[in-house]
Subunit: 213 residues, 2 copies
């Protein structure tokens, strides 16, 4: 069965997004600092049609996420930002452009029904209004022999963690403080449902902590 794999960047003080998310700051004020380690990597650049880039200790983290992911689950804000409800007469296509980097089915948790959105390169966004269990079942069907990426945001991740559905978790711990914003473990409680730390990779300006059960 496909594994549900949470991979997310988190600050030293526990935030996966900064405060005051907006169209100008989709990850909140300072939130982009959580992702600066990834942009120079050749493994990331190639998925965005860019040549060159670095190879370092973080490279395997990117490669294994890309190599074995057959479906993605994300929250509504991660699809379409803080704009709230979309206008069904004139819906926009989210943050990800015409050719999103997923290249597989993406399931968006939302309370707002919408027809599936088929974009270039194999990415389809399916909007799931009947909860995390339904999205997980649909993602399992879509992933086939591969795994499912739980991409964020904080609320979606916390719900799957609290329900004990996360099979693997990689925290990309960035040694900065965001001060406020959205916490990954808010409401998760004290139970990691068997997730144990199995690998620590020290990379330039980020520490990768992988948990499996």
């Amino acid at each position: 069965m496909p594994k549900l794999c949470l991979r997310i960047a988190i600050s030293l003080d526990g935030f996966v997004a900064g405060p005051d998310q907006s169209v100008d700051d989709p990850i909140g004020v300072g939130g982009m600092r959580l992702h600066e380690w990834v942009f120079p990597l050749a493994a990331w650049r190639s998925t965005h049609g860019l040549e060159g880039g670095e190879v370092n200790e973080s490279t395997p983290i990117i490669e294994e996420a890309l190599a074995n992911s057959g479906a993605t689950i994300m929250g509504r804000k991660m699809f379409g930002g803080p704009a709230g409800e979309w206008d069904l007469a004139n819906p926009w296509n989210g943050w990800w452009g015409d050719d999103p980097p997923f290249h597989h089915p993406v399931f968006v948790l939302t309370h707002h029904p919408r027809e599936p959105l088929v974009l270039k390169g194999g990415t389809t966004f399916t909007f799931v209004t009947d909860g995390i269990e339904s999205a997980l079942a649909q993602a399992r069907n879509a992933a086939g022999e591969k795994n499912i990426s739980l991409a964020g945001g904080a609320s979606a991740c916390a719900q799957y963690l609290a329900a004990g559905h996360v099979d693997e978790m990689t925290l990309n711990l960035v040694p900065i403080l965001l001060g406020s914003g959205e916490r990954l473990f808010n409401g998760v409680g004290t139970d990691l449902h068997g997730l144990k730390l199995v690998r620590t990779i020290a990379a330039p300006s980020v520490t990768h902590l992988t948990f499996r059960r």
Copy 2:
């Protein structure tokens, strides 16, 4: 000049103590789980008069803390727990027993004046009522050629971090969730005052992250 070195155990969700601190749970419910990695270590056992124990990747962390520490600063609750104000007619001597493991001067941040407490083995507790700057100045005088340990709790650490006084910080990141309790970075803001991650040590059931500036 002596460096101020913060060394503290922290959960994956950012807590350095659990909720509901009491005489029975001085580090809060579940808080002792933050320290389980340290008790089997020979380096720790020897400071408590115990023989034997393990040597592993955490050993240098304990050794360097002990080897070069000439004074300690801590908050009142870490000295004497959540009992609140002590009875000056019949003061108790805190959590640490007649022969505390410090063996050097300890400065306790408190609002409650009290005469210094001289115990066995070279540990004296001096109660500082005029703030963190005063405690730091007194600890610098006492430490001589050695460094100063900032031992906790959360509030004392946060105040020194926010003021930019911490020269070195080792977070002993324990892969558990406490769910609630006292957060290390509460109120610290977004400024690490030049503290950069310089060393990551993966040990059994704990990851040691050392920051220096």
